[in-house]
């Protein structure tokens, strides 16, 4: 599954959802650690570990409404057995790039806050 390239806020994060600050903070702290472990597992073709981490990230991303990131995690989870070497690592890189976009969107003030004087 190719990486969706949507960059608008609505494509990155479903609008109108509840995102408690503590959950966002935990996600922004843990996801980079998980992505580093995912990269390592992909480099070593450890498919079980790739699936496990992708599944975990998918749950966190999905519950925050980061649907595009969750879809990429799901794609990696379900295709990791068929991929190895460079194609697997490229998939992880796409996921990292999607995370960076989600991370930036999560740290931007909500539209109402931006509109406040």
């Amino acid at each position: 599954m190719p990486a969706p390239e949507g960059n608008s806020e609505a494509e990155l994060l479903l609008p109108g959802l509840r995102r408690p600050p503590r959950a966002v903070e935990t996600f922004l702290k843990r996801a980079p650690e998980d992505l580093a472990l995912l990269q390592l597992a992909a480099c070593e073709d450890r498919h079980d570990e790739v699936r496990r981490i992708a599944h975990k990230l998918k749950g966190s991303a999905g519950s925050l409404g980061a649907v595009q990131l969750a879809q990429l995690c799901e794609g990696l989870q379900y295709s990791s057995n068929e991929l190895s070497g460079e194609p697997l690592r490229e998939r992880v890189v796409s996921l990292e790039q999607a995370y960076q976009r989600v991370s930036a969107a999560l740290q931007r003030p909500a539209p109402a806050e931006r509109a406040a004087p």
Binding site: R18, R19, P20, A23, R30, K56, G59, G62, S63
Partner: protein, 137 residues
């Protein structure tokens, strides 16, 4: 008359339930707690099933929300164990999962009346599922 009234414990109103959330994923757990609290419920949470039964009994929990895939015990297994406990016969159960719902369709059938909610749809689907689970008991 007064004795009868003293012994009568009214059920919690449908809109105010005591809900326990068990999920090893901190992010999903915090979101689930927040969504349920926003819906008016009194919510507690645990990161694993350890101590769940005591918590449910002590806190008079009406509904438990269980993550399907937890490292220590699968949510469906825990749901089955809770269902066999005569002390918990009025407990409602909802399972949440980040797996594709089509991949757990066999489980959906096996779990009977227990709802399975996708983590992608927590914000829209969980509260109605929790209220249904409470009403079904």
């Amino acid at each position: 008359m007064s004795t009868r009234l003293d012994k009568f414990t009214p059920p919690a109103p449908a809109s105010i339930l005591r809900v326990l959330v068990i999920d090893d994923d901190d992010v999903a757990r915090d979101v689930i707690v927040d969504v349920l609290e926003h819906d008016g419920h009194t919510v507690t949470s645990l990161p694993s099933p350890i101590g769940a039964t005591k918590h449910i009994v002590d806190q008079h929990v009406n509904v438990v929300v269980l993550d399907l895939m937890m490292p220590s015990m699968r949510g469906d297994k825990l749901a089955t164990l809770l269902g066999r406990n005569p002390k918990l016969k009025n407990l409602g159960v909802v399972l949440v999962t980040s797996a594709r719902l089509e991949d757990v369709s066999a489980l959906t059938e096996a779990m009977g009346s227990i709802a399975i909610v996708s983590k992608n749809g927590i914000q829209a689907d969980l509260c109605p599922a929790v209220r249904r689970a409470a009403r079904s008991r």
